[in-house]
Symmetry: C2
Subunit: 402 residues, 2 copies
């Protein structure tokens, strides 16, 4: 039933404990839903309420503590034994009186795990300032340490099974991009294309279905291509529109992002000028990547390449990617940018996104890749160029569910 065998989960837990040991941690409180899934297999949209996984250096199994109505999922959808699942009553949920961390602290006290060095994921979306305050107040005998990204760093190097899942995600990403672009023409609305992209992202292929991506498809159009994180509107596409499509295929929560820029009709001279610069820079980076390089060195290849054309890029060039939940598919560990000391190793996986955003236009042509023994290989195989669409070539299906 679980996406990985028990051996793989045990390996992950062992590596986590090794990192805990190095940091002198007795207990690690995992709040990141991706880290929780990574260590136990737990997968449900229950992270909108507080839930934690307690990893103890001297216990074989972690403990899951969450909402009562979600605890059955933790019992049946993870490898943890039932006695390691604790549930708080519903009156702790979004309450002005009771906070779930009060309950959780009491469990730790009951188990005698309220002393010593406790690691917490300080900058995680799912570890709020209030959660930390309540925990500190309730556990006066503990010393808290920032263990942000401790598990994320274990996640960076993927197993063969994880790579296989990412390959499936890649096929789904290619398909969603193909169908989205195919139907992008004069008169179709942005929301219709977003709907089609979702349909193909989730229905997947005959062999396997897709999962929801941690970020919705981003679809800035026209002058809004200068603003990378806009979603979609109800506006109809028009001849002359540029559209940036950034999406990810997702399989068993593993992501492969893919971005392309589309011109509906003749591209602007600006887009025509910038495209080969981006494509060339991307190719030079992909050619250069090999194990042993640092992320900072990878970025330098890009920087030199575009500098020849008088271009600079403010934002980072890429980031580590894989297993994740909303609101981000990035792993928050390595970034491909100046000075990042992360040394590339085989089966690290990245999204390389040389997006450039100017005053009233922008371009994104991206590739997700894995580091191989000697270089790298991209996950998707999709034309690496500006996509030019005939604005009046309406797709035979009309982009509608018949």
């Amino acid at each position: 039933m679980l996406p990985f065998d028990l051996f793989e989960y045990q390996n992950r837990l062992r590596e986590t404990k090794q990192r805990m040991e190095k940091k002198g941690l007795d207990v690690l409180l995992v709040t990141d839903p991706a880290n929780m899934n990574y260590l136990t297999g737990y997968d449900a949209w229950s992270f909108y309420v507080h839930q934690i996984l307690v990893v103890m250096i001297d216990e074989a199994q972690p403990i899951w503590i969450g909402r009562y109505q979600d605890s059955k999922g933790a019992k049946t959808k993870t490898w943890l034994h039932e006695e390691n699942i604790y549930a708080y009553p519903d009156y702790y949920v979004h309450s002005a009186i009771n906070h779930p961390m009060d309950y959780m602290a009491n469990v730790l006290i009951d188990l005698g795990k309220d002393k010593g060095n406790i690691g917490v994921e300080m900058d995680n979306y799912y570890f709020s300032a209030k959660a930390y305050m309540q925990l500190s107040k309730n556990l006066p005998n503990a010393t808290f340490h920032d263990a942000e990204l401790l598990v994320n760093y274990v996640r960076m190097i993927k197993s063969e099974q994880e790579i296989n899942y990412m390959k499936r995600a890649a096929t789904i990403a290619e398909q969603a991009m193909t169908k989205g672009v195919e139907n992008m023409c004069s008169g179709m609305r942005e929301c219709d294309i977003a709907g089609l992209i979702y349909y193909y992202m989730l229905s997947g292929t005959e062999e396997y279905g897709g999962d929801y991506p941690a970020i919705v498809p981003l679809l800035p159009t026209g002058e809004n291509t200068a603003i990378p994180h806009l979603t979609w509107s109800e506006r109809s596409f028009e001849e002359g529109d540029a559209v940036i499509v950034e999406l990810a295929g997702c399989y068993k929560r593993y992501h492969v992002p893919l971005a392309r820029t589309v011109s509906i009709g003749k591209p602007s001279s600006k887009l025509e000028r910038i495209t080969p610069i981006v494509v060339e820079g991307l190719q030079e980076v992909l050619d250069a990547i090999k194990p042993g390089m640092t992320c900072g060195e990878v970025e330098e290849v890009w920087r030199k390449s575009i500098k020849k054309h008088g271009i600079e890029k403010e934002a980072r060039l890429g980031y580590s990617v894989g297993l994740n939940y909303p609101p981000d598919w990035g792993e928050h560990t390595a970034s491909i940018r100046a000075g990042d000391p992360t040394v590339l190793q085989p089966n690290m996986t990245f999204h390389l996104i040389p997006g450039l955003w100017f005053d009233n236009y922008g371009i994104e042509i991206s590739e997700s890749f894995r580091v191989t023994e000697r270089g790298c290989e991209t996950f998707t195989n999709y034309p690496r160029d500006l996509i030019v669409k005939d604005p009046f070539m309406i797709h035979p299906h009309g982009g509608k569910i018949s």
Copy 2:
């Protein structure tokens, strides 16, 4: 371009400042993306990096501080003047060295807004423990106060325009439910149905398109109907399966959730027995609701109704709903549960979800409603009953994009 006129945004800001005044706050730091949207119109998937809106009691306009590549969106997609948009460089993003809150604190110091009483949203997903620590460290002259939900409470009573948007969201929810259920039959996979639901949620109607919901469609099947927050799998539906579908239509970020339970083929005797109890209880609650009642009193109607049949419900019966972003469409203010003192007022909006989860099955039949002058009215009009499907009645379209 903005979904509401300037007058409405000004009203919201004025009410926010009145609440700040009551709490003695000089400054409010808004991190909740829904609150940021509510006050400024800002709408982008950029909340995966730190961003804040600074509301100052003695300044006409708030200040937005976020990532450089997102600042153009804040300039062009809100009513704020350009000089009130501050942007931090990309090397603050997911960095081990620089934290965005350090930059933000410096902006506050430069503006002389680093003293006095500063409110922060302590339990928000987008205000991490680390964000709070950095802020406190950098602003030693400020006294911090928990202002969690301050703006959320302003959001509770909807304007006419907000109700109109929710009515559109309701139409979208009905359509997505109709199409999802219509195609649910033996041989279709859960992921196919999830894809179809998304297609109809986003493509919306001819007149208006849909937005992404803050929670993905939940689709537990078979014995998993006992676990409310599971999403979907690649499994094909079989005769005899029960399926719970919980989804929301979303328009301009306003949500109307809707849940139904479906039996593919003859329902189990358990489901047949529990359904009329839930439907009756739901009807009694809807009949009883009127302004002036407390949320606790509403829950009591339900509790008494199901108690006649020897049933108890552990989880809350409902919650305030409206404008939101992932990971939750609930507003985290009022809950319909025992003891909640919130007094119902016209144009408050709730999701009433009398879900019951037992050992190996569950049921959800929900309604979203608004409180009216004399009672309440539901947003959607969808058969309020267990939906029984002929497992072999394959929909003519086969649920595929042709």
